[in-house]
Amino acid sequence: MRVPLPWLREYCDPALEVGAIEERLTMTGTKVEAVLHHGVPSAEGFVVGRVLSAEPHPDADRLKVCAVELGLADGPATIVCGAPNVAAGQTVAVALPGAVMPDGTTLKRARLRGVASEGMILAEHELQLDAGPSPGIMVLDGTALAAASVSASSSQMDDDAPPPGELAPGAPLAALLPIASDVLELEITPNRPDCLGVYGVARELHAATGAALAPAPWLRDPGSAGPVAGAAVTVECPELCPRFTARAFEHVTVAPSPPWLKARLSAAGQRPINNVVDITNYAMLLTGQPLHAFDLDRVAGGGAQPGGPGQPGAVGRLTVRRARDGEQLQTLDGHTRTLDREMVVIDDAEGPTSIAAIMGGARSEVHAGTSRVLMEVACWSGPNVHRTSWALGLRSEASSRFEKGLQPEQCMHAQAIASRLMVELCGATLVPGTIDVAGSDGAGWTPPPPTTLRLREARLRAILGVSVERSRQAEILAALDFASTPAADGLDVTVPALRRGDVTREIDLIEEVARIDGLERLPATLPARRGAAGRLSHAQRVRRRAEDALVGRGLHEIVGWSFAAPELLERLQVPPQHPLHGVVELENPLSDAQSIMRPTLLGSLLDAARHNVSRGHGDVAIFESGTVYRLEQGEPGEPGAAPPAGARADGRPRAEPGIREHHGLGVLLSGRIAPRSWRATPASADFFAAKALLAALLEHFHLSWWVTPGEAPFLHPGRSAAVLALPAAGGERAGRAPAAADGAGQPPPAAEPLLLGLLGELHPLVAERWELERAAGFLIDLGQLAAAAPAELTFSAFGAFPVLNQDLAVTLPIEVPAERLLGGVRRAGGEMLDRASVFDVYEGEQVGDGRRSLALALSFRSLERTLTDEDVEPVRARILAAVQELGGELRG
């Protein structure tokens, strides 16, 4: 909200610079987002002038050469003016050479068609009083000054306030009009609708600085109670309209507003329209309460003839009712709206004319010929206005105020301000009486009894951690319009009407005292932290270490979007019945490309890879650690299938039923796996590069893991695998291995293995869609990894004796997987065989078609003695037998 500072100072004027006012308001809860400036940068060089003569320019038809008295010692100045309305005898606003205009240009002496001009007679838009262009120069007389005096005195305690400024030629213009205003841009929090008006902010400034607060401007009300001749209102839905007030005005002259009013509205960011509409806006900006002016004749049924005079004297009747389901109404903006019965419309003699609290209709709008005005000020149900505004996608200044919940008292505040200005600015006659409808019987409104709350001193101290003197509490509350009386353990505090929506509990009072007393006063202490022991959970530690392990291996971490495009699954070649199609969809995505929640990390990894490859960074080694979202479905054993219902292995609370979130870890390698070197050519990212990285990661956690050939639609069918591991002792079982897993080579099924994820080379067609040549990687469920990773490690004896290392080269049918050979070797090797691994692979003529040679590094050990070749000979024989069982033989 924009509050021009001169306007604010009219009600509360602390002797402070704008910077200090900004600081006080901000530190007490009314945040000043910015201090703007409206009008000319400096009032210097802007004065009052009197036109002594205005003669035609000798060489230009449209220009006049004026002699203007500016109170200067060397007599009147000559000013050339192009305005059609300039005339001798006018009091005008003049910019002298050197004055700086709002656009920053400095006015200079100029020759206009041969005549020297020593200044400029100003039009309203040149001072930013109006949007412009103005039809002529601004004439400072009559209404302009009378109104300025009315406005200023409206806040004074008596009617004899001095006039605001001198009209003498040469007097500074700023004394007469706010031509250079600082404007506070305020953030009003939603709990403070009382601060949506200038006077509400003035009260805050009063409480924050202690400067005097002028009496509320609505206290002087020229109106009276009682029925209003010629107008009537019926409210059929009092539950949605707690109060409806209206006043009638006759002999209204619709005209532009005087400069002072335009200046205030413009500075507050409201465009001047005409005096009647400007008065409604002015009253709203001052009180916070929206108003609506109807043309009373048109309300009465005079609107059938456009521009016609209506039927003077006819009774205008408004009916406030719920709309019918499906009822249609054209609003001021030209759109036809379809309503329902939770929405409220206002009918005039010819049917619905506006959507209550949100937008009026064109038919009964005030127009140039309006002479009778019905001023509506009503209170509406905030939640209902919010709902209607939201349902129709229609927001207005009025709706945004009503939906925050205004109080019924505010109706008469706005009526009082508007009544005075209607009489004074529009020459209107206020028709006696005020329509005031409330309650189911339509009787007048009566205020509810005020709320009184106990504010305990001990409670205040307990919440703040510092005590505030009881007298200081009372003083702060009084400044905020709360009355208080002493009670045994504190104060009994009565809540003012305008705060009843926000202050309903003791804690709310504590906040009021705390914010005005000054949060700067709070000491900085630390809580006792009873029983607090900051430690990461096992799953959190596993995640950190996994990320660190990958970073340590030279990978860059990325952070991708949780959103994905539905086409992602097609691009990944996922067939329609695949469980990955169970995706979480958004109802209101920002775009189609962000309309589902990612069911895999692969999409963001590929996007990041392509981004970098396309920027010349061809070697990519990246990972992401983040959440993946899927619908809970699919058969157990499918990669990515949901775990059985129950607690999550990683300790995170479950997402809602039907949805599974898991924390995934995805790796993608493309290009060379290491920088090019002058000494060796690095390998390129393929299945085995990814597997080596996976091994480094998993063995970091001392996992018992293995892979089996497995397929995923987006992976190379011959170069992809499922990654399995045994759960840690005492760990949770959160998944199942594929039933088709190759039994051989697998450790004995002491426990159901966990499916950790997938490993493989990308399907070439998928890689191509992301413009990558070849890529490989893996996708791991970190919850499963945490379940497989032992939380504690125990020592295992290795003895005092050296190991005995031997190599063994065998040839085997090519179909026998290495893991199967190693499994057989390990079983045959028994306790004495400590380790066995493949260190060479050979296929070719020497071993014959359909066979390959695998070279194994074996290491034997004994806890009792140093082994000799003779010691291991029997074991080696058993190993050879196992090799032969697999169709293998010792390579000669």
Binding site: H386, E403, I507, L519, L536, V584, P657
Partner: protein, 379 residues
Amino acid sequence: MSDRPEQTPDAGGPPPQLELIERLRGEAEAALAAAASSRELEQLRLRYLGRKAELPQLLREVASLAPEQRGAVGKAANQARQALEALLAARARELAAAELQAQLEADRVDVTLPGAPPAPIGRAHLLSSTRRELEDVFLGLGFTVLEGPEIETVHYNFDALNHSPTHPARARTDTFYVRPPDGVQRSGGEELVLRTHTSPMQIRAMEAHPPPLYVVIPGRVYRPDSDATHTPQFHQIEGLAVDEDITLADLKGTLLVFARELFGEQRDVRLRPHFFPFTEPSVEVDVSCFQCRRGFMRDGSRCPLCKGEGWLEVLGAGEVDPNVYAHVPTTAANAPGYDPERVQGYAWGMGIERIAMLKHRIPDLRLYYDNDLRFLEQF
């Protein structure tokens, strides 16, 4: 030498072998001194001290000499052998040292060439490392790290956090709503949203644990905004402490520790009154700018970071609103539960993107999600 009289054994003079020994010794000493390499030295050893060489030969033949000659010849031959062996060893050492020196000289490399094979350098993402830095500050203060689901119910995201049924944040323009999964029966047909803040986990944490409770909750959150200063997903970290006596002053002290750990020892914090539905009193918290003095740089110009304010808005916080406790049912898991007359505490929440942005002068939020290696490599 030709005029020297011939000595004969029977002349009773010194045996002729002595002269030979003397000659061999002189010859060998000269040769060893002149040897230029270990190989040459080895050849000389074979020539003078080898099995077939003259001197050892002489020694072996001492026994067959006349008894009166044996002593002198044997002694001379032995002395000669020992002297040569000593010389040989000394020369061997000299030559080995020289050869090693030459070898080292030849081994010299261009030390400015890059190491090989190269060990690639990886980096954690700035959002991850900042999140950890924040977690670690609060772990050190005794807080536990909790995480919650990102797809939340309206109950946890809004209702239980004291948002009125008409709170504007619930609007489709402010919150992403999730299409209900087919065939899933939800009690009361409650709507699902992408959480708009990490605060729902406050309620879940209190449901699961009895007081006292000291937790931080990092995680990803969502709001449908996308422009230079908003991304539709971002990260927050939330703090919640509930005990018998946690005050607003404790909140200030806790956040002062955070501010100093993250932004430097000289930092100060200030609390400004604000409004949030789930805290009362509510505050916004500013940290004193770490780039300037009270808004101005050394050269007198306005600080570009804090825009001359001297303060940086960093987070929202407050004392937990009593209405929030009322939304936490007392169960076996959290008994004795959260009675607002018996427990009180604070909550705060901050944006991780914003913290990293301030700390590392990141000019544009989108850099976080572009994942350009030229960005990732910098942190």
